[in-house]
Symmetry: C2
Subunit: 335 residues, 2 copies
């Protein structure tokens, strides 16, 4: 590794519009290891849009203060360890941050089964299809959504890291999948590559509820919502009796507003709306990763991130997600 | 039985305000039995507030047309049968209507385990604690609400047929229970008789959300909502992380409006809102009735309906529920 140790920190509290200058890349000398700690050389990290909420307002995890490092999932290799479960060379993933190196307690890391990789499964998959995106799609659709074979699934932000996997996992379960995305290009992409049967460009159809109805007049059984706000309501209008809404990310809420409203449920419709965050299923991550890796090897799941080469481009890649300039499913390749 | 066969029918489509004159009691000559049918002499029937929706607007079951009989659960004894599973003298329950006699297909009836009754469990319990009210409380709280020991439960319409049982079942599970009711008398009643630890009179506290917060500043884990509308929102404002809202009846919606809105869920709060109707659990009714009857015999559950003597008072008892003139948990004793 020819890279000087470095990490991204919050340079300024973002206003309503996020700017690259809200972030700063600084040299970072990792501290000496204390008992129980591990030093990790980071290979890849995410720039997940969900991080934005932590920069703006109080969420379920602590908000980031100005000067503090930017959080994010990463995958890397142990360089040094004072924790009995980790040795140099071990592949690990965890909340490593937007950085080239991290020192953190071993108990916050997961050692990855080396058997997950190879056979067409790259290490970067650990922060993509085998990382939070894949685990979120998996647990959201199967546990929260209680997906049954043959049902119809609606997904918002369908071209995103999570949505592109939700479509594929739904198809593996013999379900029809309708995606909502923000451009004709994204719609074409998910139809070609992510298992979607129909796609709606919400920018081209001001009445999104009607557009979804046109795509699937019978309505949908599961709505995996990554957006919230008007999109949530448009999907809700198409939810069938016994339908489930999986409230996952909330892109529209990252602008600092509240979550807005949705229709109150009517008993006779027997519908469920449930919000979740993926870490609640941590105990079942290893089993889910094995299943996801199996689907990858079988060719049922595809892993197609936009790899951003160079940690110096992380802030640009992050901000670009909110104005459409960043390609789909970005993963930053550190070195 | 000295009573001439009779039944209540809808005399006029109700306007915004329900009137006794919207109903008419008419003589009714039961038709000859056809193959598969059973004639039941009805002993008790409910005047459940949920029926109102069927008189007003299309719901999950067909609406009642003018001239048609009023639906309702009842318990009675088989008088004659052309169905192999039923014989004269069998105790049965089912959707018998507001009537003194009913002829209907045997497949729509449930034969009651005679072992449910006796030892302090009267036959009328079949349309109360062992009927839809008890089954609704049981499945709503335990299956939809996924109640855990030690949690805090909020119940609206807490003095109603369902709510008074929800409180008691929650207490059986070592939970704290807060009830919302519409008068000081009802609040005193649920504190004394239905297992409630705290009670809020919503008529005395215009800001219901604040009143609930005063009663339980830590918030609630399960909100069993029998009301909807503003009450739903007031309870929602007090729902903790991982909290569940059980959307059961909808008294406030029986006035013909739509269901209104509620806050959109935030992922980090991991909350669930789920609507249900009790018949979805029909396969598990016998087991649930046995459990409820066991609690009754052990003195953990109390069955305290307001028994309205005489079928001629059914419409008055029904309408009186919406203006507070009818006592709690009304059951009409036919003869």
């Amino acid at each position: 590794m020819g890279l000087e140790p470095c990490r991204w920190v919050l340079a300024a509290r973002p206003g309503k519009e996020l700017k690259v200058s809200d972030f700063a890349l600084e040299a970072f000398t990792p501290p000496e290891l204390r008992d129980g700690e591990v030093r990790v050389r980071i290979e890849h990290h995410t720039v997940a849009p969900g991080v934005r909420a932590k920069l703006m307002e109080k969420t379920y995890e602590d908000m980031v203060q100005v000067g503090e490092p930017i959080p994010g999932n990463g995958v890397g290799v142990v360089e040094a360890s004072r924790h009995p479960d980790f040795a140099p060379g071990d592949p690990v993933c965890g909340f490593l941050g937007w950085a080239s190196v991290a020192v953190l307690p071993g108990r916050t890391l997961e050692k990855l089964d080396p058997g997950l990789f190879g056979g067409g499964v790259p290490t970067s998959a650990a922060v993509g299809v085998l990382g939070m995106a894949g685990l979120t799609a998996y647990f959201g659709l199967l546990r929260i959504g209680r997906l049954q074979a043959g049902e119809t699934v609606l997904v918002s932000s369908a071209a995103g890291a999570v949505g592109s996997l939700v479509g594929q996992i739904a198809r593996i379960h013999d379900c029809e999948v309708i995606g909502v995305a923000g451009s004709d290009g994204k719609c074409a992409d998910i139809l070609a590559n992510s298992g979607y049967d129909a796609a709606v460009n919400y920018r081209a159809r001001p009445d999104l509820a009607a557009a979804i109805r046109d795509a699937r007049p019978e309505g949908v059984d599961v709505f995996f919502d990554n957006v919230g706000g008007d999109t949530l309501n448009a999907g809700f209008a198409n939810l069938r009796t016994f339908g489930r809404i999986v409230v996952c990310g909330a892109m529209s809420r990252y602008d600092g507003g509240d979550a807005g409203v949705m229709p109150a449920l009517k008993p006779g419709m027997r519908q469920t709306v449930q919000a979740f965050v993926t870490p609640d299923f941590a105990a079942d991550f290893p089993a889910a990763r094995l299943q996801l890796a199996k689907w990858l090897r079988e060719g049922k799941l595809k892993h197609r991130p936009t790899v951003i080469p160079g940690i110096e481009r992380a802030a640009e890649a992050f901000v670009g997600q909110f104005n459409g300039e960043t390609g789909p499913r970005p993963i930053v390749s550190v070195d």
